[in-house]
Symmetry: C2
């Protein structure tokens, strides 16, 4: 069955999946403080200007800039102090800064009418309570944040789909958005298959191992903002697997099968995936290492992945094909997926036409970032634990030599 | 008051704080699936070997390696198929792989006694049900994961203080740790000060602005794994601030004051911090931009920060001085804090002796990572929203020129 399919590149796999996935994430309103890490469900537009008034950025004096032109330390411009701006008060009702006049103003204070700049305290000398000398000229607009300079009224504040970071919470607070429309987290069903698997709390007998993938994938799904749900360990049996998969598909937005690296188990998984619905299996195998024996399917608009049984392989494929869907709802283009460039410590060979993913330890040496590969079989979860990131050897390269740069993403 | 203190470098500030902070985080047990992102409270040691038996990494035949020596496609080694390993079953009870014999074995199956290697299916030809020809030799250990090769019994699995990632959940599942001892999240009290501040849901009048910092800092604390708590907006009044700060200190492990960028407000905050307890204020000003007017204090072992009022400044200081404490409980040395090296798009000047932090947009161009500074005053939260990361100009440099590399950390 798998022989009918050619192995796909990561890009092709994404395009195939992207063309068939229909995501209709429901929306909920959450209180601003609970919105961190959530995905915005609509474009947000500012109603008011931020700040709502011209605002001083320094402690000093609000002045007419032209009254300071030519001022020097030896020949200060003398101004009459005729008022004071109080923090948080309306400075527009108590008069005007006239020609040759100055008002005291604190950092963050509202610029009074008539003034068009602020002179820093450091560049003034107080002659008496009523008179200052300005020792440096200012230009109109100096030391002021203009009305709407942070956020203009009517401006787009944050786009639909944006994942909210701490600064975004700050921005939404500034424009008065206290309830935020966000997408509900995608529900991810996780099924482990394999006659050899036992639960974490069980003691494995000879020939048995504890289920690693359910936990690692649960963690990856949660880290991507989704709501994972574990459907347990299923024996390599067509009927059992089909029933559990149908249940997971009914209850979730995306389903992961993992395990079944043996030919027999792979065949069962592939037959089940092809039985479920349309369009069914889209690809069978991706040209990466580790992670090749991956099955990608879409059933009634929902993605279903048959991930390899080896934990490292399953996690690499999750990272490449599942994480983007959970975080963004689709595959982004031109994303900076591997932002770190690090110097590789040893030669690593790869086959042309295949992307290789290396587990790497990262450290700093003389200001340079160094990537040291963690060697070991893809069945060893400990190699992922020892690593700080995942490095990529592109398909067009046959390897990367010691001392060359490699692209890395951090775990 | 501030004049008595010289501005500290980030490193000095960390050392001063680190020398006085006494952290005694309580510990709780959480179920493994809830442990993502939590900090491990003790060293964990493996009891059992993982895997608990020699395990095949391929579909094929379990053999004695020496029986395959010299095998080629034209002159295969012929072996009698005398058994089959079933997935998840004990292969140690049904006999031994004898000289000239082979057992069928699936990926993940238990190596039967007598065998010391696996021959991949691809390098065998089946002559009849009872006989195979091996067309390539294998060495002892080939295509096998040895008992304890992933995790040796008695080996340290994860160290105290480690922050649990998805792969770490997988590792703990593998060794049977279903309840994980983790530190309770640090409680962070957040107080905003300023006569100009109003709540998010209020409409600011002339001279008023909505409180941005409480929300941005709440987000940063939550992102660092802490449990933030907002203590509201306090007027610039000694008694009010002292009372609220005492309450926050009694209830939290770390307290943040933000706001009060005007000289008057700064003085109030500093006097309050010096009143609270011993040793009190440790530094007053750090030699960074933005973020200079930062007060660092420790009161009865708990850190208290007086952060600048400008949102960008407050967030930068939080990132440098608060995030490490919340994530790790102390300041790490030799950490890869700024892992991305990106080419700067324009000349950026800096003063020698001062670290400058730039907000930067990051993108990729011809395989290179490019950092484009987001210019704008530190009072503008929108500049943080437009940025993808924070770049650093070290204190010993007077700037970085267009085309040179700059160190960046991603938001």
């Amino acid at each position: 069955m798998g022989e009918l399919f050619q192995a796909r590149t990561v890009r092709e796999a994404r395009e195939l999946l992207g063309g068939h996935i229909k995501t209709t994430c429901p929306v909920e309103q959450v209180q601003l403080l609970k919105a961190l890490g959530r995905r915005l469900a609509q474009d947000l537009v500012a109603v008011d200007a931020v700040p709502g008034f011209d605002r001083s950025t320094m402690d000093g004096f609000a002045v007419r800039a032209r009254d300071t032109f030519g001022a020097t330390e030896s020949l200060p411009s003398y101004l009459d102090v005729t008022g004071e701006v109080l923090m948080g008060r309306d400075a527009g009702t108590a008069g005007v800064v006239g020609v040759g006049q100055a008002w005291r103003i604190p950092t963050g204070g509202m610029l009074p009418p008539g003034a068009d700049a602020v002179v820093m305290l450091e560049y003034t000398e107080e002659l008496d309570d009523m008179t200052i000398g300005v020792t440096r000229p200012v230009a109109p607009g100096d030391y002021i944040v203009r009305t709407g300079e942070d956020i203009a009224p009517g401006a787009g504040v944050l786009p639909r789909g944006h994942i909210l970071r701490p600064q975004d919470l700050g921005l939404l607070a500034a424009v008065g958005v206290d309830d935020v429309p966000v997408f509900m987290p995608a529900r991810v069903g996780i099924i482990s298959t394999g006659d050899e698997l036992v639960e974490t709390r069980e003691q494995p007998g000879p020939g048995q191992v504890r289920d690693i993938n359910s936990y690692a994938l649960y963690g990856q799904a949660a880290a991507a903002g989704a709501q994972p749900c574990i459907y347990g360990i299923i024996r390599d049996d067509f009927k059992l697997l089909l029933d559990r998969l149908r249940q997971a598909l009914a209850e979730c937005d995306l389903v992961l099968l993992s395990g079944g690296s043996s030919v027999g188990a792979r065949d069962v998984a592939a037959r089940v995936l092809d039985t479920l619905g349309s369009p069914g299996v889209l690809f069978h195998g991706i040209s990466i290492k580790p992670g090749k024996p991956t099955v990608g399917a879409v059933v009634d608009g929902k993605p279903v992945f048959g991930l390899p049984g080896h934990p490292v392989s399953a996690m690499v494929v999750f990272d490449l094909l599942v994480t983007p869907l959970l975080k963004y709802g689709f595959y982004l283009r031109d994303q900076l997926e591997f932002p770190v460039r690090a110097r590789l410590t040893r030669n690593m060979r790869s086959a042309a036409g295949r992307e290789d993913y290396l587990r790497v330890r990262l450290y700093q040496e003389n200001g340079e970032v160094i990537a040291d590969p963690v060697l070991g079989k893809s069945g060893l979860i400990s190699t992922m634990v020892q690593a700080d990131g995942l490095a990529r050897i592109p398909a067009e390269k046959e390897g990367i030599e010691a001392g060359e740069n490699i692209e890395v993403k951090l775990f």
